[in-house]
């Protein structure tokens, strides 16, 4: 699904990622954990194609193709989805309009006809129920005036409708109360599939109580300093990041 090899990335001539290696197979869930400033968000941004980063070395291969060569919208149409840490408000465009525009962009990319209006509505309403959202949200402007929890739920709603292959969740748990966290997690869990992989970028372990990862990687100072199973997250929670940061210093 995704293969990151020795990836180095600069922001304003400062090296932020210093040689990342990561292999993600279809159906796997990987958690990337790390303290503030470790490069977690940079990694999710670089995968989704945000401007402002310079790749200085290494490669990212997604489904056999060079991901870094693709424009952000091409990555999205090919199945890469970034759930934003801070979803953007877009007054003047309704949620349902954006969903339709996005879905039809994907369909066009795959030489499929536009989605039928009725089928689309049925699909969207199903997913709205799944995420326990009010249908009125569909007709409101994208994220405008939404609470933190509603914004995150809206990201997962988009994900559920666009059915990506690689889902990157950037600090999805931040700003969520426990009820919203449960709903969002259930939404994510319902999307787990043999051909769909997840990268969860998170500072805290608590999201992993709800979405169980297959692998946990600890990022510190721009490098993955430790990898392991779900139990690694618990150990981290107990010992704190200084534990791995110290071990990195020993390398």
């Amino acid at each position: 699904m995704l293969s990151i090899k020795n990836l180095t990335v600069n922001v304003n001539d400062k090296q932020i990622l210093k040689g990342i290696n990561l292999e993600i197979k279809p159906g796997e869930i990987h958690a990337i954990m790390g303290p503030n400033g470790s490069g977690k968000s940079t990694l999710s941004h670089i995968l989704s194609g945000k401007a402002g980063y310079t790749v200085t070395g290494g490669s990212v291969t997604y489904q056999g193709k060079d991901l870094l060569e693709m424009a952000p919208e091409i990555r999205a149409r090919e199945g890469v989805f970034l759930a934003f840490q801070y979803p953007v408000e877009i007054p003047g465009v309704s949620n349902i309009y954006l969903l339709k525009a996005a879905l039809n962009s994907i369909r066009k990319h795959h030489s499929q006809p536009e989605v039928d209006a009725m089928d689309f509505l049925t699909l969207v309403k199903d997913k709205v129920r799944l995420l326990e959202m009010d249908e009125k949200f569909l007709y409101r402007a994208v994220n405008e005036g939404f609470s933190g929890g509603e914004k995150k739920r809206n990201e997962i709603l988009q994900m559920a409708i666009l059915e990506p292959k690689l889902c990157i969740l950037d600090e999805t748990d931040s700003g969520l109360d426990i009820d919203a966290l449960k709903i969002v997690s259930e939404g994510v869990n319902s999307l787990r599939a043999a051909d769909r992989s997840f990268v969860m970028v998170t500072h805290y372990q608590r999201l992993l109580d709800y979405i169980k990862p297959d692998f946990v990687h600890v990022l510190a100072h721009g490098q993955i300093v430790k990898s392991g199973g779900a139990e690694l997250a618990l150990e981290l929670e107990e010992k704190g990041y200084s534990w791995v940061e110290d071990s990195k210093a020993a390398i």
């Binding site: 194609g49 953007v88 003047g92 465009v93």
Partner: protein
């Protein structure tokens, strides 16, 4: 030179004066004479005046726009404009070339206690009542367009809503200009007594010609009354437009204005309101300039007494060689403690030759107030573009979608369906780029 040219209008005045309504009213004749002498002395506003420094109206001076004696329905094209702009779900009044047209107006079912009549009729039937309102929300010293209107107005409308009455449908005042070189100068007075609730839509349209609309609307919002006024300025792209809206709000009164400036070669709107204790106003505006349009919006919010609230958001999208002007003044009087005021003006420039001039002014004489203002002139937000790209939308489409969204935010504030759709269509006509799929809206 200004006065020399203005004198052409002044010279014409004796032939026009006998055709104007209210000839027998001493107070009105005096008012018109005062206005005429002010206008004769000053001419149209010049760039030297601070509140006109970005808007050059010399083109109006070079022509001689003259009022038509009586409105004549231009059979074919007027009907087309009427069917396009007259709202089906509103009571409507049609003013053609500055004259009330009874046969095209639709007022069936209007409550009997509500007065909606032409200004000419109102001056004939209830002159004492009109004396209480005309030139009371604004006066001839404001600037010479107001004086010009006072001297020249041929007709207009008088609307009176009694206390506690909430009109179930909006009232549309459709101004239609049918010929070039014509002056359509009307005076409208809207009175909402205590606790009344009305929505009025002023629509300005015209044939493809160079005419001049010069209108003044005075609005009196009684205690705890609620008036929402919409302005749909869709004048011909050769036309000149001046429209002043002057409002007096009593205690606890609410006034909301939605100003859509779409048409005109040169268009200027004034929206001024005086706020009494605990009254509230909301001023929203959208101006879309293309080609060589010049669109100027001038607002003044006068907080006179304590605890009043004002909210203002004006947005402009300017393309080609268009120029948009926003001047927003908020004045907080010494007595107006606990004033809460926010003013915002945001501009998008879509071409290198487009220009936005923005001048927010806060004048605060009280010491316990909350006032904020913000102004932006710029391009689209990069974060929003990336967000849309990450949702499969290519950059160009994203830019077009965001431009549309920027304007559509103001359209979305209209809760009257037919009017909303009309405004939406105006936005889409002006920015028909790929990127917005009309069927999906």
């Amino acid at each position: 030179m200004t006065t020399a040219i203005a004198s052409r209008y002044t010279a014409e005045y004796p032939t026009i004066a006998p055709t104007l309504p209210g000839q027998n009213l001493v107070w009105l004749t005096a008012l018109r004479q005062e206005a005429l002498s002010k206008f004769s002395a000053l001419g149209f506003p010049s760039l030297r005046e601070e509140e006109w420094r970005y808007t050059n109206v010399s083109a109006i001076e070079k022509k001689l726009f003259a009022p038509s004696a009586i409105g004549q329905v231009q059979e074919t094209v007027s009907k087309e404009l009427l069917s396009k702009y007259q709202l089906a779900d509103a009571w409507s009044v049609v003013l053609i070339d500055g004259h009330f047209c009874a046969e095209l107006s639709a007022l069936e079912g209007l409550p009997e206690t509500v007065t909606v009549m032409s200004m000419a009729d109102a001056l004939a039937q209830q002159p004492d009542n009109l004396e209480r309102y005309i030139n009371q929300a604004v006066n001839n010293d404001e600037h010479s367009f107001v004086a010009f209107n006072a001297a020249w107005f041929t007709d207009g409308l008088f609307v009176h809503v009694p206390a506690k009455l909430a009109l179930e449908k909006p009232l549309q005042v459709l101004h239609l200009s049918t010929q070039g070189d014509l002056l359509a100068s009307t005076r409208t007075v809207i009175v909402a007594e205590a606790m009344a609730d009305i929505k009025v839509i002023e629509t300005f349209v015209g044939m493809d010609a160079a005419y001049l609309s010069a209108t003044v609307t005075e609005v009196f919002v009684g205690c705890n009354a609620d008036v929402t006024l919409f302005k749909m300025q869709c004048e011909s792209d050769k036309a000149y437009h001046f429209g002043g809206i002057y409002v007096k709000q009593a205690k606890d009164a609410r006034f909301t204005h939605h100003n859509f400036a779409f048409g005109g070669l040169l268009a200027r709107s004034d929206i001024h309101t005086d706020l009494d204790t605990a009254s509230e106003c909301e001023l929203n505006g959208l101006y879309l300039g293309i080609n060589r349009q010049h669109i100027d919006n001038h607002t003044r919010i006068n907080h006179l007494k304590p605890h009043s609230i004002s909210r203002e958001l004006y947005k402009g999208v300017l393309d080609d060689r268009a120029r948009g002007v926003f001047q927003g003044r908020v004045i907080v009087a010494e007595d107006a403690q606990k004033t809460d005021s926010q003013m915002n003006n945001r501009n998008l420039l879509l071409s290198n030759d487009a220009e936005a001039d923005t001048k927010p002014q806060l004048e605060i004489y009280a010491d316990d107030v909350k006032c904020a203002h913000g102004v932006t002139v710029g391009q689209l937000d990069e974060k929003s573009i990336f967000y849309l790209q990450s949702r499969c939308i290519d950059e160009e489409t994203a830019r077009n979608m965001l431009t549309f969204a920027f304007a559509n935010e103001m359209v979305d504030k209209i809760k009257i369906k037919s009017l909303h759709d009309q405004a939406l269509e105006q936005v889409l006509i002006r920015f028909p780029q790929e990127g917005v799929n009309k069927e999906w809206l």
